[in-house]
């Protein structure tokens, strides 16, 4: 027994989540619609319990488990905690929206928790096999979530597109992994790093593999030119699903990229850095320019996500601990802002009304000054204007880029973020300068309203005192590399 425990203890949160999902699946099948809140409550309890387990066994140094497939280090623990938080917030924000649309079913919670499990595995993987397993568990759950609204042709189309392109990306990733395996003879990230330390004779196959891996990662991140699915999926999916896709999986994707490139292929930084530079510049450029032309807010956020992922890549391509820490800070901040932005769309929508057009935000300041103020904070944060936390995220990645001597890249990044400022300002303009054409009173449940307020104010509070979050990121990266 003790041997078993010793072996599996680092993966206890994952095991707990898996057990709970199975439980919820069974319970939900047995209850009728009036007791649907059971699944909701149990999901939140699952996340809280997993968070408790993660905090209780918080690791101070990397521990390999399950025969080297699984790693438990400060980076994974910190990211998991943020994942629990993000997913929990998603569940709360989504509740009213799903109820109004008849989607408030056990499937949603089960899929969300399976996706959560997949992300946890991705975050803690130290082996190509586990990385891939986690990714697929996440992706399959997301495909199903997007398609959950069966009678919506837009959602079905989005799901189909997501599935086909996602499968293609997975294929590329696997192909790249097989090439790297051929060169290094190992699927374990640690062994791979050791094998590549002193260089290799098989340089061409290695680079060939890295190209495919980077392309696969770019697909998953939604970086240009592999971004085609992002706007359609964000737009087509029910907003609650968009909220999910737009927040937590980005954190997991960050871990995925850093594990593969930063840990496994660390010595090949010269090879993948240039690829990431191209991806980053294109993402920032295309994302920001295309976002201007959008009239649908979800679509606009989709393009804005593309540009934010480009920004996050800036931190990773630096290839330094400082850079990874900055990228981590960026992605956490992004998840926070994304939660708030989509949360606001969810909160303003009601039965039969999506509130996802830019027009719908007209005159929000007259309808609800408080919500308009929160959205103002979120928009300025996304634009990177101090004193909101979005500014420090940009500052962090920019300094990482300047540190490695890529000043021109920093200049390009700020110029693109200037373009980005325009469409965020446009939202503020709609809310504050225009008069509303929709005067239906805004009804919200108190818990959603409270959480959204906390979310918006966190953007400001972390902007005034960014140090705690920054220190967490620096520590997590420093102790795990």
């Amino acid at each position: 027994m003790s041997v078993f425990l010793h072996h599996f203890a680092p993966a206890l949160p994952e095991i707990f989540v898996l057990a709970m999902v199975s439980l919820i699946l069974v319970i939900d099948a047995a209850v009728d619609d009036s007791k649907r809140y059971l699944a909701y409550a149990l999901s939140l309890i699952t996340l809280a319990g997993a968070a408790f387990l993660t905090v209780r066994d918080f690791s101070t140094m990397p521990v390999l488990a399950l025969g080297g497939l699984f790693i438990d280090d400060p980076l994974s623990d910190v990211l998991k905690l943020f994942l629990y938080l993000t997913v929990a917030v998603v569940l709360v924000y989504s509740r009213d929206y799903l109820t109004e649309r008849g989607l408030y079913k056990g499937e949603f919670f089960v899929l969300a928790l399976f996706a959560q499990l997949g992300m946890m595995v991705m975050v803690s993987a130290s082996h190509f096999l586990t990385l891939y397993l986690g990714l697929e568990l996440l992706s399959l759950s997301l495909y199903a979530m997007v398609a959950l609204q069966r009678d919506s042709s837009v959602a079905t189309e989005a799901a189909m597109k997501y599935f086909v392109l996602g499968a293609l990306a997975s294929g590329m990733l696997l192909y790249g992994m097989s090439m790297v395996y051929g060169v290094t003879g190992s699927l374990s990230l640690g062994d791979m790093a050791i094998a590549l330390q002193d260089g290799t004779d098989l340089h061409v196959p290695l680079v060939f593999g890295i190209v495919f891996i980077v392309a696969g990662l770019a697909f998953k991140l939604g970086a240009v030119p592999f971004h085609m699915w992002v706007p359609d999926v964000y737009h087509g999916a029910p907003t609650a699903m968009t909220l999910f896709i737009g927040s937590a999986p980005k954190i997991a994707a960050f871990a995925f990229v850093v594990r593969i490139l930063g840990q496994g292929l660390e010595s090949q930084v010269a090879e993948w850095r240039d690829m990431l530079v191209i991806l980053a510049v294109l993402s920032m450029g295309v994302g920001n320019l295309a976002a201007i032309a959008q009239t649908n807010l979800k679509r606009m956020f989709a393009y804005s996500t593309i540009s934010h992922m480009g920004f996050m890549l800036l931190g990773i391509l630096a290839g330094t601990q400082n850079g990874y820490g900055s990228a981590m800070f960026y992605v956490l901040v992004y998840a926070l802002m994304s939660l708030g932005g989509f949360g606001m769309i969810l909160l303003l929508s009601r039965a039969g009304f999506e509130s996802d057009q830019l027009e719908d935000f007209k005159g929000l300041n007259r309808r609800s000054p408080w919500l308009a103020f929160l959205m103002l904070l979120l928009m300025f944060s996304m634009a990177g204007v101090p004193p909101t936390v979005g500014f420090y995220a940009k500052l962090a990645v920019l300094q990482a880029v300047v540190e490695i001597g890529y000043v021109w890249l920093a200049v390009a990044a700020v110029l693109f973020s200037l373009v980005g400022a325009f469409y965020y300002l446009r939202i503020v303009k709609l809310m504050y300068f225009d008069t509303p054409h929709d005067t239906t009173p805004i009804t919200t449940s108190p818990d959603t309203r409270f959480l959204l307020s906390a979310n918006g104010l966190a953007v400001l509070a972390l902007g005034i005192l960014p140090q705690p979050l920054m220190a967490v990121c620096v520590h997590a990266i420093g102790a795990s590399f």
Partner: protein, 494 residues
């Protein structure tokens, strides 16, 4: 008790007062919002008074210094301090804020609390710009002040306000983002420090200095604004409500000029010397060409806006003469322009509130209906034209004197402002105030009320006091300026 944290108070009292005003809620409580705002603005001015009484004019070092770790991950500090250059600007800002609150007392009836709060919060942020000694802290205040200003122009502005607000915001953001990259570069060059005073001694190569010079020049030049990046100002001024125009002209333009003294000159001395001709050229174009542009304006606010650009051209010209007279002249001109432009925009506001027009042609013969107002307006128009015994004269005279020492032709072109300035200001004055009443609506205009007399009277006293006896101002700034120029004279090339 608060002796150690005067600067923090100067920054945070207005901001917290702004939050308190917001808390008064909707327009049902408009009166309460106004009084809270006034109390907050006055309190903000009172806490700034120790800066004057406790200021030591015998040193060029930073005073009232506060320093605490803020973001250790990047070695960023909450580092505040003032010298003779920044202290008068903080005072000016706190003072103007009180006037702005009073000026919006009756005019603003829509979303009063938000209006007052925006000004108070902005006032605190601007004080932060002048007091910050850490690059990132400076940047946070520098950018943060755009948010309330964007809302002020966009929400309470004129018909074309949306265009003006966007133009203003994006224009200034472009400049500051490049400055941010320069700051990050300086951070690494100085061995990991965002401390502005450390940057003053950081060794930099000529290429880096030149590139950064243009980045900083864009950031601050847009704010000043210098020709040819001035085009946002007339739009923003025309569309902004009176209070917004006052703050824009009196304070935010000074932020740009202040940046020259705090960043460009001491951090990039070699590039500054090398490229001084460029700034001088732009300044002279601003003085002469923009003066001519002002002459043909049909809109009073636009005319004053162009006149502001011409006056700020004097400021930058004075800074790049690299002698104490020119720099102090520029600083005096900044303060003076703060008073005069604020007063002129308030005068236009007084007229606009009654006739709802800013077009010169809609007026005429105002003196028949508003004699008291006409007298005040006369004084400020004269000050704008640089009449001796008003504050407008002192700065211009000092800058022209210092320019003569450097190059006669600089002084010659600069001195044209005395002609153009008088021409456009007095011509406007003549058309608006004198002559017969042609517009029947002017017949119905009433003279200034007690509130307006208070506003204009206080400013008139400031304009005259500074014109007659500028010594206290120059005393405060003298040692700091001398120390600054000593810095600028030293090469920082490796």
């Amino acid at each position: 008790m608060f002796g150690q944290s005067i600067l923090s108070l100067v920054i945070w009292v207005p901001i917290l007062a702004g939050v308190a005003v917001l808390a008064t809620g909707s327009d049902r409580n408009a009166a309460l919002a106004r009084w809270v705002a006034l109390a907050g603005a006055l309190l903000g001015l009172i806490v700034a008074i120790p800066l004057v009484t406790g200021f030591d004019t015998g040193t060029s070092a930073m005073q009232f210094v506060e320093k605490a770790a803020w973001i250790p991950a990047f070695n960023v500090h909450y580092h505040l301090g003032v010298d003779g250059i920044s202290m008068p600007l903080i005072l000016l800002n706190s003072f103007i804020t009180v006037l702005v609150v009073i000026a919006g007392w009756q005019v603003i009836q829509d979303k009063v609390a938000q209006y007052m709060a925006a000004f108070l919060i902005m006032s605190g942020l601007i004080n932060g710009v002048f007091a910050a000694l850490d690059g990132i802290l400076f940047y946070v205040f520098f950018e943060g002040m755009l948010i309330p200003l964007y809302l002020i122009v966009g929400v309470w502005g004129g018909p074309n306000r949306v265009y003006a607000a966007f133009k203003f915001f994006l224009y200034t953001l472009l400049g500051s983002l490049l400055m941010l990259v320069s700051m990050i570069y300086l951070y690494f060059q100085s061995g990991g420090s965002f401390d502005i005073l450390t940057w003053h001694t950081t060794v930099l190569g000529m290429t880096a200095q030149t590139l950064m010079f243009f980045a900083f020049l864009l950031a601050f030049g847009v704010k000043v604004p210098m020709w040819p990046v001035h085009t946002w100002l007339p739009d923003a001024h025309v569309e902004a409500p009176t209070g917004g125009s006052v703050v824009l002209a009196a304070i935010t333009l000074k932020v740009g000029a202040y940046g020259f003294l705090r960043f460009i000159l001491p951090i990039l001395p070699d590039a500054s010397h090398e490229l001084a001709w460029f700034v001088i050229l732009l300044s002279l174009i601003a003085v002469a060409y923009i003066g001519l542009v002002a002459l043909v304006q049909a809109d009073m606010k636009k005319l004053i806006a162009y006149s502001s650009i011409a006056h700020m051209g004097f400021v930058t010209l004075g800074f790049f003469m690299f002698n104490p007279l020119g720099t102090e002249g520029g600083l005096v001109q900044m303060i003076s322009h703060g008073f005069v432009s604020a007063a002129l925009f308030l005068c236009i506001g007084v007229m606009y509130d009654r006739l709802h027009s800013r077009q010169i042609k809609d007026y005429g013969g105002l003196v028949n209906r508003m004699p008291v107002f006409a007298a005040f307006f006369m004084l400020f128009a004269m000050a704008n034209a640089g009449l001796p015994a008003t504050s407008g004269f002192v700065g211009e005279f000092m800058v022209i004197m210092s320019a003569t020492q450097v190059n006669f032709w600089f002084a010659f072109v600069a001195a044209t402002t005395l002609i153009f300035g008088a021409a456009y200001t007095l011509w406007m004055y003549k058309r608006v105030v004198f002559g017969d009443v042609t517009n029947p609506h002017v017949e119905e205009m009433s003279d200034v009320n007690a509130r307006e007399i208070l506003l204009l009277g206080v400013l008139a006293a400031c304009v005259l006091a500074m014109g007659l006896y500028p010594k206290p101002f120059t005393d405060v700034m003298h040692l700091s300026v001398v120390d600054l120029l000593a810095h600028v004279a030293q090469s920082k090339l490796p």
